[in-house]
């Protein structure tokens, strides 16, 4: 008899806990994907929780590709995505809303021996293509016209990600066309290029600049892009000193797009879960005021209205 009682109690516990967990599941939002969007979603989640205590968030960063794959497989509610959505992905029934903008910037180590020259003359798109894709420029001397020169060590991302996709698109290629040693994840890439005086790479703005100080993170520098290819960085091309300056350039179009790009939430079809829809609506309305503070660029009101319509 005792045993039977135990079994009943156990069954009751299972039933009750399953009810609770189902309710909890309705209120739990799962995210995975782009490193670029990760800090922004963390910020939004924190603010959202202040108003909606019952909602729980699981957020993980693993590259935009993972976000897309997870979203389409239905293992997360929303994928974080940071490059243009490919036709193949649209064909698979992807649903998306744009949220904000950021950019991918070419980076070098602060210990690069040619830092001063690089900052004065910048590199043109053609020179970046020669370094990253063709591999026709392999040392700093060839591009900077200095005597003795060191070889260029190119770094890229190994995981399927938006930063590499966007940077490759700017240079007229795809992620797989980018040469160089593949590093997993944006923070690790910033670390690797910062440590190698001959290295060159690309990073998302949020991993280059420190949000608190507005300056570049220790050890990492940005290569200015010589947009008009006249061999020097003109004052209107020079907006890399502070976080605010580059954000302004992205917003006003001074920095080209790509490598500036919109960041998205993606899902397999329009989300059915009410909590998910509520959160997206909040992000596109009240959430917009945290964008600048978190180090991103807001999208235009037209676009927001367009995305809000998609929620209905």
């Amino acid at each position: 008899m005792k045993k039977l009682k135990f079994v009943y109690v156990l069954m009751a516990i299972v039933i009750i806990s399953s009810c609770v967990s189902k309710k909890q599941k309705e209120k739990t939002l799962n995210f995975s994907g782009a490193f670029a969007l990760y800090p922004m979603v963390i910020k939004w989640a924190e603010e959202y929780k202040k108003e909606h205590e019952e909602v729980r968030f699981n957020i993980s960063a693993g590259g935009a590709g993972k976000g897309m794959a997870d979203a389409l497989a239905g293992t997360v509610d929303l994928g974080l995505f940071s490059r243009e959505i490919a036709k193949e992905e649209k064909d698979k029934g992807v649903w998306w809303v744009g949220l904000c903008k950021d950019a991918v910037l070419p980076t070098i180590s602060a210990n690069n021996p040619y830092l001063k020259i690089l900052k004065e003359r910048g590199l043109t798109k053609e020179e970046f293509t020669a370094i990253f894709i063709d591999g026709s420029i392999t040392n700093w001397g060839e591009v900077l016209n200095v005597g003795e020169s060191k070889g260029i060590q190119v770094y890229t991302r190994s995981d399927a990600c938006g930063a590499a996709g966007t940077w490759a698109k700017y240079l007229g290629g795809k992620q797989e066309d980018l040469n160089g040693i593949g590093i997993h994840g944006d923070p690790a890439l910033a670390e690797a290029v910062g440590k190698d005086p001959t290295g060159i790479a690309f990073n998302n703005t949020i991993y280059i600049y420190d949000i608190k100080t507005g300056k570049k993170r220790l050890g990492i520098e940005v290569i200015p892009i010589d947009l008009n290819s006249n061999g020097t960085i003109d004052p209107e091309e020079n907006f890399y000193d502070t976080f605010d300056a580059i954000l302004k350039a992205i917003a006003e179009g001074g920095y080209p797009s790509p490598p500036a790009r919109e960041l998205y939430f993606v899902a397999k079809g329009k989300p059915e879960k009410q909590a998910t829809l509520d959160f997206i609506r909040w992000v596109l309305t009240y959430g917009q005021k945290f964008i600048k503070e978190a180090g991103y660029v807001p999208i235009t009101q037209d676009k927001i209205d367009h995305y809000l319509k998609k929620l209905k």
Binding site: G65, M68, A69, L72, G151, Y155, S158, I181, A188, D196
Partner: protein
């Protein structure tokens, strides 16, 4: 009462058989599922071409897996060369010469090493091994490398495999009867001679199987290797160059699966290749064990 007993007996019987069957056919199910998913790739390219070609350009529909298979084998062999002697000597010392206290001390150390998640080994690789290879080892040999290399992958893997191989070796050496060793010593053999002719000879099948399992584990290890190996598609014998092992290919490009046609089949094929290679490694070591046991 009797009925209850009959029911329970038959139930427990079938349960046990069922669990066994599940375990037995699990590799088959995995293999078949991967094969079915990989079929579209075979229409595109023939099997020898897939494995033998080193032309990798998924957007153009070129899938040559040889650089990945080669990198995997290279990293694995390197890690084996580093870890096998260390484990063998450590295990001999621990079981034959060490004090009881040292053995008691070693067991938790091995367990802790085995329990550390691979991402931590990867971080440790980036912080310690990559700079060691790039800033210490390479300049000493007059080579220029940033450190993200096959060698770094091999070293990290070796450290990860040590607890597994070591643990199994210790267990193997423990099973050698003490009498045999005592007999050898009483015949005038030195301790080293008794180890060489008795302990190692007697436990050869066990040594081979622990090495085999170590290699199979090393071949499939993903995250830690991926973080330090450099992930470049190229064929090179230079261990200071970057490589791109199969598991890293799967893990890195999981997200590209949906944006490039055929890529999902290609990744499934990569997984299938991984499974088959590990199976072959196991079979080879099984054969060796069979051979040595027969002698």
């Amino acid at each position: 009462m009797i009925l209850k007993r009959v029911i329970f007996n038959s139930l427990t019987g079938t349960w046990m058989v069922a669990s066994l069957v599940i375990i037995l056919i699990l590799p088959l199910i995995i293999g078949v599922a991967l094969y079915i998913k990989a079929i579209p790739l075979f229409d595109l390219q023939s099997l020898p071409q897939l494995i033998g070609s080193s032309n990798w350009s998924p957007t153009n529909g070129d899938f040559g897996f040889w650089p990945f298979i080669f990198s995997s084998l290279y990293v694995t062999i390197l890690s084996f060369l580093f870890s096998a002697p260390v484990c063998l000597f450590a295990a001999i010392h621990l079981t034959q010469f060490a004090s009881q206290r040292l053995i008691h001390l070693m067991h938790p150390v091995i367990d802790i090493l085995a329990g550390i998640p691979s991402v931590i080994y990867g971080m440790w690789g980036i912080i310690v091994i990559v700079p060691f290879v790039g800033d210490v080892l390479a300049p000493a040999l007059n080579i220029k490398t940033p450190g993200y290399s096959i060698l770094a992958g091999g070293i990290v893997l070796a450290v990860m495999c040590i607890p597994y191989i070591l643990n199994m070796l210790i267990e193997t050496f423990k099973t050698v009867p003490l009498g045999l060793k005592e007999a050898a010593l009483s015949l005038g053999a030195t301790p080293w001679e008794s180890v060489k002719h008795i302990i190692i000879k007697k436990s050869l099948p066990g040594i081979i199987s622990s090495f085999g399992l170590g290699i199979a584990k090393a071949f499939g290890e993903t995250l830690a290797v991926m973080m330090v190996v450099g992930n470049m598609v190229q064929l090179t014998f230079n261990p200071f160059e970057a490589g791109y092992p199969l598991p890293a290919l799967i893990a890195n490009n999981y997200g590209e699966m949906l944006s490039i046609p055929m890529y999902d089949s290609a990744l499934m094929f990569a997984a299938l290749t991984l499974l088959v290679v590990i199976l072959i490694i196991n079979l080879i070591f099984r054969y060796f064990i069979y051979k040595t046991q027969k002698q």
